[in-house]
């Protein structure tokens, strides 16, 4: 397995190698699919813009925007991740073995983000199709203006969950400190239990779908109305 050591190589060399490798695999020009990064030491923008089905293991914690805009690649961080991990991810899988800082999965359009620890505030902000599974708790204002996709929280959620939500689906197993504007609890139906079972299994989460409650948009703020002014 090729290994890139960030104690020796710089960030540009790292991303250039990974981006080239991902494209080569996507175009069937290479079968070098397993990569490892040592000594990440909290560097920013590690493994960003990958565009092909390679697997990257990061041997430590990362700074901002690790796995940003990922397409098809599978990226595992064997530590914690800084702000904006997997931001605007298009597809693929990103797994954080530790905790994730704020904005995890922001504006993500597809793929699966798994946080095995806790995620800080604004997890899934403005998400647009990504699936996010957090084994622990999430911070305040998570799923703010979330448009589509699924956020699953096996622990508790902080204040203002799902504020100004659009069509994203939210599932929380523990407590919700408060719901944001236009976010309401909704009936758990069989199709959602099925969806949850699949996501929990893919995320390796030890939880049963029946333990979760579902939240979504009340759709009262979709069109401006002066009588809702206190909600804006």
């Amino acid at each position: 397995m090729p290994t890139i050591d960030l104690a020796k190589d710089d960030l540009r060399a790292l991303n250039q190698q990974l981006q080239t490798a991902a494209r080569a695999v996507a175009e069937a020009q290479s079968n070098e699919t397993q990569w490892r990064i040592d000594n990440p030491r909290g560097s920013h923008a590690i493994a960003v813009g990958l565009d092909g089905p390679i697997a990257v293991t990061v041997g430590g914690s990362t700074g901002y925007y690790c796995a940003g805009m990922n397409k098809e690649a599978s990226i595992t961080v064997e530590g914690s991740a800084g702000p904006g991990v997997a931001e605007n991810m298009m597809s693929g899988t990103v797994v954080i073995e530790g905790d994730a800082s704020q904005y995890a999965g922001a504006t993500g359009r597809g793929g699966l983000l798994v946080v095995k620890g806790n995620a800080a505030s604004r997890c899934g902000i403005s998400m647009k199709g990504i699936d996010i599974v957090v084994h622990g708790n999430i911070g305040h204002m998570s799923a703010f203006m979330a448009q589509s996709g699924t956020l699953v929280v096996c622990g508790d959620a902080g204040d203002a969950l799902g504020d100004s939500l659009y069509e994203a689906r939210l599932f929380v197993r523990g407590s919700v400190k408060s719901l944001g504007a236009d976010c309401v609890e909704k009936e758990m139906r069989p199709e959602y239990l099925e969806l949850l079972a699949d996501l929990l299994e893919r995320a390796g989460a030890d939880a049963r779908p029946e333990e979760f409650r579902r939240y979504g948009s009340a759709r009262q703020l979709y069109t401006f109305n002066i009588d809702n002014a206190s909600s804006y």
């Binding site: 960003v48 931001e87 605007n88 069109t223």
Partner: protein
């Protein structure tokens, strides 16, 4: 009316004038603030308040039509392997697909390309019409991230991180449901027909320290090939420019309050931000203090640019290039009197129409209505825009030659005087007939 011959003429309030009263009545009746497109309509100090001095005994003019006055500009050589090289210093500003039709975006691309300049995407992503017809396309990276994807990012010739815009510094936007067609809804990943809010700040960074890391990420994804612009509204131009450059911007785009928007509250457009004229010198000072003016980071000015005279004045004050939005739409046919009957049906008149968000633009530009869109021929529209850009360039060259300049960038504040004290203060050029401007020592 009374027959009393001693009655004084009735007086309407200056404070509560007819327009103000009509707005109060409208708000009371509808329960919604006025949303409209465009930029500030109020009179503010502008380029019209400046004059060029021209050459005389102390300056030597260049011969019109014979001696060269170059107009080219390179944007973003500071960090990018492939800076944007333009034939003319007039670019097309970001305007969204969604606000504009795909046909209008195509026309903008055609016109800009024919004139040797760039065009810019907007909130809503990159369309094939626009990419296909734009030789140089700047991809806006906006707070909403509508339509944002890394493939388009890599197809762009430059990236413009939008922090704010002149019509609404600190504000987001709202695309009302009437304009959310199937295609717009799909690109923005939202249900058809609902109001779509564009966020006022980015979802994954706050402040200049974060912005520096965001710029690093974008450079890593695009291989350090393309320039990164940072666009700010005219709020605190000295500090905003300084911080944008500190964060790593190759180009700062500074948009004054006359800069247009597709849809925002009228109260925001008219009451937040500074006039374009007031923004330029502080931004230039910031670049000079950093040692990067004219040699490192480029400054692009927008907001109310209409003519070659405006172009020349902005450059003389220190801009490297300008950007036009509203003027480009007018060149395509926006607010053309030939559609007056249709404007009247909408309760307005040609020249005043600004309800672009309602999707009924008679000119077929700011609409998603397939029938209205047919009113804009993208080939003809592109030709009109190209003509207009070339006329502006010729006008700017004419002025520059008269000032003895062999390149537009050789224009300087010393070539200007101001007609009003306010303009003199903002532009920091002498009041006409004096050697003084407010703030200059010796007053």
């Amino acid at each position: 009316m009374t027959d009393n011959p001693h009655r004084t003429t009735p007086v309407k309030s200056w404070t509560f004038d007819d327009r103000t009263n009509s707005e109060i009545r409208r708000a009371a009746a509808t329960g919604i603030y006025d949303i409209r497109g465009g930029g500030a309509k109020r009179r503010v100090p502008h380029f019209d308040d400046l004059l060029f001095l021209g050459a005389s005994v102390s300056r030597y003019p260049l011969e019109g039509y014979r001696e060269t006055c170059a107009t080219d500009v390179s944007l973003g050589p500071r960090h990018a392997a492939n800076p944007i090289k333009l034939d003319i210093p007039i670019t097309i500003a970001g305007m969204s697909f969604g606000a504009l039709s795909g046909t209008a975006k195509e026309a903008l691309g055609r016109g800009a390309t024919a004139a040797g300049t760039s065009t810019t995407t907007g909130d809503g992503g990159m369309t094939e019409e626009e990419r296909g017809h734009s030789d140089k396309l700047v991809y806006q990276y906006l707070p909403s991230r509508y339509g944002m994807n890394p493939d388009d990012l890599r197809r762009a010739d430059a990236i413009e991180i939008v922090v704010g815009q002149g019509a609404k510094p600190g504000g987001g936007g709202m695309l009302l449901g009437q304009k959310i067609s199937d295609r717009v809804a799909e690109m923005r990943n939202l249900p058809e027909g609902i109001d779509q809010r564009s966020a006022c700040r980015h979802p994954d960074w706050t402040g200049p320290d974060d912005l520096e890391i965001k710029i690093l990420e974008l450079r890593e994804i695009t291989g350090w090939k393309v320039p990164i612009y940072v666009k700010v509204g005219g709020a605190r131009p000295y500090f905003d420019t300084t911080l944008a450059v500190k964060a790593g911007a190759d180009v700062v785009v500074l948009d004054g309050m006359q800069g247009g928007t597709a849809a925002t509250q009228d109260v925001f457009i008219e009451h937040v931000g500074q006039p374009t004229l007031a923004c330029i010198r502080p931004a230039v000072k910031a670049l000079q203090d950093l040692g990067l003016h004219r040699d490192g980071v480029q400054l692009v000015i927008s907001g109310g640019i209409r003519s070659g005279a405006d172009v020349a004045k902005a450059i003389a004050l220190g801009a490297d290039a300008v950007s036009i939005g509203t003027a480009a739409l007018i060149a395509l046919g926006d607010n053309d009197p030939k559609w007056e009957a249709d404007y009247q049906k909408l309760g307005t008149t040609a020249g005043a129409y600004d309800d672009w968000h309602e999707g009924q633009d008679p000119a077929g530009i700011n609409t998603q209505d397939p029938e209205l869109q047919k009113r804009l021929d993208p080939v003809l529209g592109g030709r009109r825009l190209s003509n207009y850009l070339k006329v502006m360039t010729l006008e700017a060259q004419t002025i520059a030659r008269a000032c003895g300049k062999s390149h537009l960038h050789n224009l300087e504040p010393e070539d200007l005087c101001a007609l009003t004290i306010e303009a003199a203060a903002m532009a920091q050029v002498p009041l006409a007939g004096t050697d003084w401007y407010p703030g200059k020592a010796g007053f």
